[in-house]
């Protein structure tokens, strides 16, 4: 798989990262070599192999649906780069 500038543009849009067009050439080159490296996996036949998504044998634990914290609004807002009283502030979304 060769990654070109157009593909970089597409992926960076999906990832919500703006990429400088000057940087996208070297990024395309790096990603092409990385994909060449990871495509070694195609040497293996895995048709009959179950995918492994977690190494734990047991299913994820579910907890009781009970409130165990709360009243931490101010703490949550503490690190916000822009806030207004109890709200996070973002650029205008609706005209």
């Amino acid at each position: 798989m060769s990654i070109d500038k157009d593909k970089i543009k597409h992926i960076s849009k999906l990832a919500r990262i703006s990429i400088d067009s000057k940087k996208s050439d070297s990024l395309a080159k790096d990603l092409t070599s990385i994909f060449k490296f990871i495509e070694q996996l195609n040497e293996l036949n895995t048709d009959k192999v179950e995918p492994l998504s977690s190494i734990l044998n047991t299913p994820l634990r579910a907890r009781e649906d009970k409130i165990n914290d709360g009243k931490i609004r101010d703490k949550i807002l503490e690190n916000s780069p822009k806030k207004n009283e109890e709200f996070f502030v973002v650029p205008k979304v609706i005209e």
């Binding site: 192999v49 492994l52 190494i55 916000s80 780069p81 973002v90 650029p91």
Partner: protein, 485 residues
């Protein structure tokens, strides 16, 4: 410079218990050396007022029955510390002050330890040389132009330079074991699920594990004991009784079966590493262990698998950095989407962006099966290799890294050659197993090299014992000359 801070953690604990040194005196010794060691760049943040205050409180009412009584400790800057900046080595979190404490650090404080400061690391733990940190690269105290490894490079450097008596790191693909090997220290990655991930800045959630980094195997067992424990706040935390690793440590390894995987003898590996591996085998053999040749046939596919799984999970985890709730926010952009795109472009460094893009691509529509699903299947094969062999052997011995510490800037232009550093450590994370790196010798340049012991799931005690026996018979001595003072 005081001789006391050169001592191992266990010796320092003894001094405190015998009341030969006060916690405050000890804290001042470390603070003094940290202040004189800025050249190494191993600390991002210090919190000495807090350290002194807590050590005074300890000295007034010392609880000598705890595991880490009044011991000052610095930790990797990936662990959230309530009220103290936690940056993950990123511009994105440059000013982030957590309002809560990670479970692992909380466990350390409950055992009497006191925070000294936060240690440098690769940005979001993505790197093998600590050169991706927004706060600059870290110097390995063994030589002024070498890297300490990564991503827990600040932790390894600070530990080897006596700027903390022990420390903790995180290991997603080798980030504890590789820097331990590069600095002549001990590093252990526990079984996945043994240490809680709650409050640790996430990289790849199915691989991330916190673990101890220390000057000796005994220290490692003490730290591990202090860190572990079931945690309701981490859905992958393992429910089990806490083990007494330090008390149960023993050197008798007679009759244990140690596997030697032939696939770890890779091309272009320096002869010295092969010799060291042989030395390791012979030491264990002389101690009565049976050395058995084994095969882990899918080893060469571990790194390519890792470079799909880890970036995929990272791209998903790092989606949270949007410049709204916390972290850096760009002032550029006309609308919400542009604000996101600029925030993430300006806030993340090159390696992090590279991995987010890889991850986004392998998870994107049309490519998921070819990459991500394929990688999950190969991960199964890699795990099976280990499962099958752990019927025959009790532990596996390999080199920790394919080289000793390299020069600053040597590998930064070639991501693949940087990634290849983790060739011996990555399979363990994919299989969720515990593994420890123990210093084993020095190469021609006088740089340390480590050997890795891989254990069965939750068999930490066993690999600690083998490492302990090995350490006692190996006579490794780190030669750090304090050239930066």
């Amino acid at each position: 410079m005081s001789e006391i801070i050169k001592k191992n953690l266990s010796e320092i604990i003894d001094l405190i218990k015998k009341k030969e040194i006060k916690s405050e005196e000890l804290a001042n010794l470390y603070i003094d050396k940290v202040n004189k060691s800025k050249k190494l760049n191993s600390y991002i943040t210090t919190c000495f007022e807090h350290t002194i205050q807590k050590s005074k409180e300890f000295d007034k009412k010392p609880n000598l029955n705890s595991l880490l009584p009044g011991v000052p400790l610095a930790v990797k800057d990936l662990f959230c510390t309530n009220g103290f900046k936690t940056t993950a080595g990123s511009k994105m979190l440059e000013n982030f002050i957590p309002q809560y404490e990670s479970t692992v650090t909380e466990n350390l404080w409950k055992e009497g330890a006191i925070l000294l400061g936060k240690l440098n690391c690769d940005e979001y733990a993505m790197g093998s040389s600590n050169e991706t940190s927004y706060f600059g690269n870290v110097i390995n105290p063994i030589a002024r132009d070498t890297v300490p490894g990564g991503s827990s490079g600040g932790s390894a450097s600070a530990l080897a330079a006596d700027l903390t008596p022990a420390t903790i790191g995180t290991d997603t693909g080798g980030s504890i074991r590789q820097p331990a090997s590069f600095t002549g220290t001990v590093g252990l990655k526990p079984t996945y699920g043994l240490c809680s991930r709650w409050g640790i800045v996430a990289f790849a959630s199915s691989l991330d594990q916190a673990g101890p980094m220390t000057k000796s195997v005994k220290d490692c067992s003490i730290m591990l004991e202090a860190m572990v424990g079931f945690d309701n706040k981490d859905s992958t935390s393992i429910e089990k009784k806490k083990e007494n690793y330090s008390k149960n440590l023993k050197t008798d390894i007679k009759g244990l079966k140690i596997g030697i995987p032939k696939e770890y003898r890779v091309e272009n590996m320096p002869k010295e590493i092969d010799e060291l591996w042989n030395k390791g085998k012979n030491i264990l053999k002389d101690l009565g262990a049976d050395i058995i040749d084994i095969s882990l046939p899918h080893t060469k596919y571990a790194l390519p698998t890792y470079y799909i799984v880890a970036p995929a999970e990272a791209s998903s985890n790092l989606a949270r950095y949007d410049g709204v709730k916390y972290g850096y926010r760009s002032s550029k952009g006309n609308d919400l989407i542009e604000m996101y795109e600029n925030t993430r472009s300006e806030g993340f460094g090159d390696e992090v962006k590279r991995r987010i893009l890889i991850g986004t691509y392998v998870l994107s529509s049309g490519y998921y099966d070819a990459y991500y699903l394929k990688a999950q299947k190969v991960r199964q094969l890699i795990k099976k290799d280990f499962d099958e062999n752990f019927g025959k052997v009790d532990a596996i011995l390999t080199p920790s890294t394919p080289s000793s510490a390299f020069k600053i800037g040597e590998k930064t232009n070639d991501p693949i050659s940087m990634y290849l550093n983790d060739i011996f450590t990555v399979p363990v994370n994919l299989a969720g197993l515990p593994a420890i790196s123990v210093p084993a010798g020095l190469d021609k340049k006088g740089y340390p090299l480590g050997l890795q012991l891989i254990g069965k799931t939750l068999d930490e005690q066993n690999i600690l014992n083998v490492a302990y026996a090995f350490e006692k018979n190996c006579n490794f001595k780190n030669e750090i000359k304090n050239w930066w003072l």
